[in-house]
């Protein structure tokens, strides 16, 4: 069964460093998302991506964040200069061809720890 994969599973970085979180969505999907979950808090929407551009972003998704689909398979989230409060589990999701209300399939997440 197709699935969304994410690498790495755990990333530790120093404050101020850049990190890139990688996701491989399901191959025929068209809509891509990033969410995050700070420990003990709810899952929060960060950004959605369709047709090679951002379709919606949250207030959290400031200039320190960027997304890219560099090739036909990967979908990346870059944090330019990490802060302590960026420590969270980051989930990638993708959905299919019928529209944005198609089921979103989530990856297992990348746990980011900023020291």
């Amino acid at each position: 069964e197709p699935e969304v994969t994410q690498t790495p599973s755990h990333q530790v970085t120093q404050m101020g460093q850049e990190v890139i979180l990688r996701c491989v969505p399901i191959s025929n999907h068209l809509y891509f998302y990033w969410y995050r979950q700070i420990l003990g808090q709810k899952v929060e929407f960060l950004v959605s991506f369709y047709n090679n551009e951002i379709s919606e972003k949250s207030e959290i998704f400031d200039d320190q964040f960027s997304v890219e689909r560099p090739d036909g398979s990967n979908f990346t989230l870059k944090i330019r200069s990490t802060k302590l409060e960026d420590s969270a589990m980051y989930f990638c999701a993708s959905s299919g061809t019928s529209g944005p209300l198609d089921e979103q399939f989530f990856g297992p997440g990348t746990r980011l720890t900023v020291l």
């Binding site: 969304v4 809509y31 998302y33 969410y35 808090q41 709810k42 899952v43 929060e44 929407f45 959605s48 379709s55 919606e56 949250s58 989930f91 999701a93 959905s95 529209g99 944005p100 209300l101 089921e103 979103q104 399939f105 989530f106 990856g107 297992p108 997440g109």
Partner: protein, 112 residues
């Protein structure tokens, strides 16, 4: 603005007992409602969704939910739970563009 409230952070229940996980939402426009489940160390998996039509929605693993527009609720139910249902359950709402707004989550703990 949309929001979702899950009224119970933890629900302990014995195996084979019925369970209801509560979810209320607020939105000024038409909404689409979802329940996701998260097993330990895994991503979120869709249990069921309400887009339109019948207000009683059946999902995977024997779960169902009922959309109640007047009470702005979308409670999740299962008539008889198993140990394997132990997980975190998230209610979510979306508008047409696909962004999911999640509730705080309810930790369901099924005891033998």
């Amino acid at each position: 603005a949309q929001s979702v409230t899950q009224l119970d952070s933890q629900v302990p229940v014995f195996e084979e007992a019925p369970v209801e996980l509560r979810c209320n939402y607020s939105s000024s426009v038409s909404v689409y409602l979802f329940w996701y489940v998260q097993y330990p160390n895994q991503g979120l998996q869709l249990l069921l969704k309400y887009l339109s039509g019948s207000t009683l929605v059946k999902g995977i693993n024997g779960f169902e939910a009922e959309f109640n527009k007047s009470q702005t609720s979308f409670h999740l139910r299962k008539p008889s739970v198993h140990i394997s249902d132990t997980a975190e359950y998230f209610c979510a709402v979306s508008e047409e563009r696909g962004k999911l707004i999640f509730g705080q989550g309810t930790e369901l703990s099924v005891k033998p």
